[in-house]
């Protein structure tokens, strides 16, 4: 009887500790405001856009507003620069919002793998990242990737491709 009471107390304490831990480390509730940082641009020129150089180039013909845009640079902060630097020519690194479990991973993997030209899909749940390796040296367009992620029920936050060397 005593040991049962003791066990119940230990379990209760453990649960309380877990609740405290989770309360401290839990991410805040989702904001209703869209996350703008590193959003995929609908335009067809996403490659190497993280480089300040690249950002400066098209600015001559564009409005100054474009040059001010800090979003791409901010996106780098949320990503692992090493991972981006080590991308192969046929690889893309995506950041996807809303992934929380193995079932999310399954849906995204299934729909991305079904795309023509995709060789493999690797997902890091904790980082919220998806590494896509295309067949040959081809690359999938942002729109294609965004469509597949949306059909899986998630939101594509940003796309990184290997920097031009």
């Amino acid at each position: 009887m005593m040991s049962r009471v003791f066990t119940v107390r230990v379990v209760t304490l453990n649960v309380l500790l877990l609740l405290l831990t989770s309360a401290v480390s839990a991410t805040p509730p989702p904001s209703t405001a869209p996350q703008v940082r590193g959003q995929v641009a609908p335009s067809a020129e996403p490659k190497g856009s993280e480089e300040p150089k690249e950002v400066e180039e098209p600015k001559e013909a564009e409005e100054p507003k474009e040059a001010e845009e800090p979003k791409e640079a901010e996106a780098l902060v949320t990503c692992d620069p090493q991972a981006i630097a080590s991308l192969k020519p046929n690889q893309s690194l995506l950041h996807v919002q809303g992934m929380v479990c193995g079932m999310c991973v399954q849906g995204i993997t299934k729909l991305l793998s079904a795309l023509e030209g995709v060789k493999s899909v690797e997902i890091e749940l904790e980082a919220g990242s998806v590494l896509i390796t295309a067949e040959g040296a081809s690359q999938l367009s942002d729109e294609t990737l965004k469509d597949a992620i949306t059909r899986a029920g998630y939101k594509l936050q940003d796309v990184h491709r290997p920097e031009a060397r």
């Binding site: 209703t32 809303g98 479990c101 079932m103 399954q106 849906g107």
Partner: protein
């Protein structure tokens, strides 16, 4: 359904063990019908996704399947069997709609509309029309999980005409964060409220285990009745 429950109670009133068993079974029955058959998982998955689940408690078995037409609409079916002197069964066609999804990096909040229509045959009574409507809101990160559900069930047959309400709240925590394809465990507690049957359902504590796209839940309520659930997405 509650009327039927009362009838069954009266029928077995002279036999206390059956009385208790009947009350417990009806509490469970109401809970099962009114809560999502996918065990408070996602009623809608991904475009082309198929979800299958099975839940078992003493005297009750429930099967559910759904197919997501898009990432926000799913069609499905429920079938449940209830043991007893006169076994009962219910079948529902289901339509679930994801009304809104809020997404952050590593977090997800959802609002679903749940509907269903079908037939029920309770304890030898005539086959009747059964319908269900409800709302589910949930929020999940890799560390915490919470869900709130409100539902209403109607059932009509020549001998019954019932409207029942149910609310259920669930909260879970993950003791650790697993990497992709690793085993993820959760501790989950749930509390439910049934209008007209207050006090009968008791809180249930569960251990939930996730691996890839499969989920197991094992636990018991405070009365010691075990709970087992399996779910998988394809």
């Amino acid at each position: 359904m509650i009327n039927l429950g009362v009838k069954l109670l009266m029928r077995h009133a002279e036999r206390p063990p059956y009385l208790i068993a009947t009350v417990l079974l009806f509490a469970t029955l109401t809970s099962l019908i009114l809560r999502p058959a996918t065990g408070l998982g996602h009623p809608v998955t991904f475009e082309g996704g198929v979800a299958v689940s099975m839940m078992s408690q003493p005297g009750v078995r429930l099967w559910h399947t759904n197919y997501s037409l898009t990432s926000s609409v799913a069609l499905g079916a429920d079938y449940m069997e209830l043991d007893g002197e006169e076994p009962s069964a219910i079948g529902l066609g289901r339509l679930s709609v994801l009304l809104k999804r809020w997404m952050g990096r590593g977090s997800q909040g959802n609002l679903y509309l749940l509907t269903g229509v079908g037939a029920a045959e309770w304890g030898g009574a005539d086959l009747g029309l059964a319908w269900m409507g409800g709302v589910q809101a949930d929020y999940e990160t890799q560390r915490v999980y919470t869900a709130l559900i409100g539902r209403v069930l109607g059932d009509q047959s020549p001998s019954t005409d019932t409207l029942a309400y149910h609310a259920l709240y669930r909260f879970g925590v993950a003791p650790y964060i697993a990497k992709t394809n690793e085993l993820q465990a959760w501790l989950v507690g749930q509390v439910s409220y049934h209008r007209g049957m207050e006090g009968l359902p008791s809180p249930t504590l569960l251990m939930r285990v996730f691996h890839r796209s499969a989920l197991w839940e094992l636990g018991a309520d405070l009365k010691g009745r075990p709970w087992l659930q399996l779910m998988a997405h394809f």
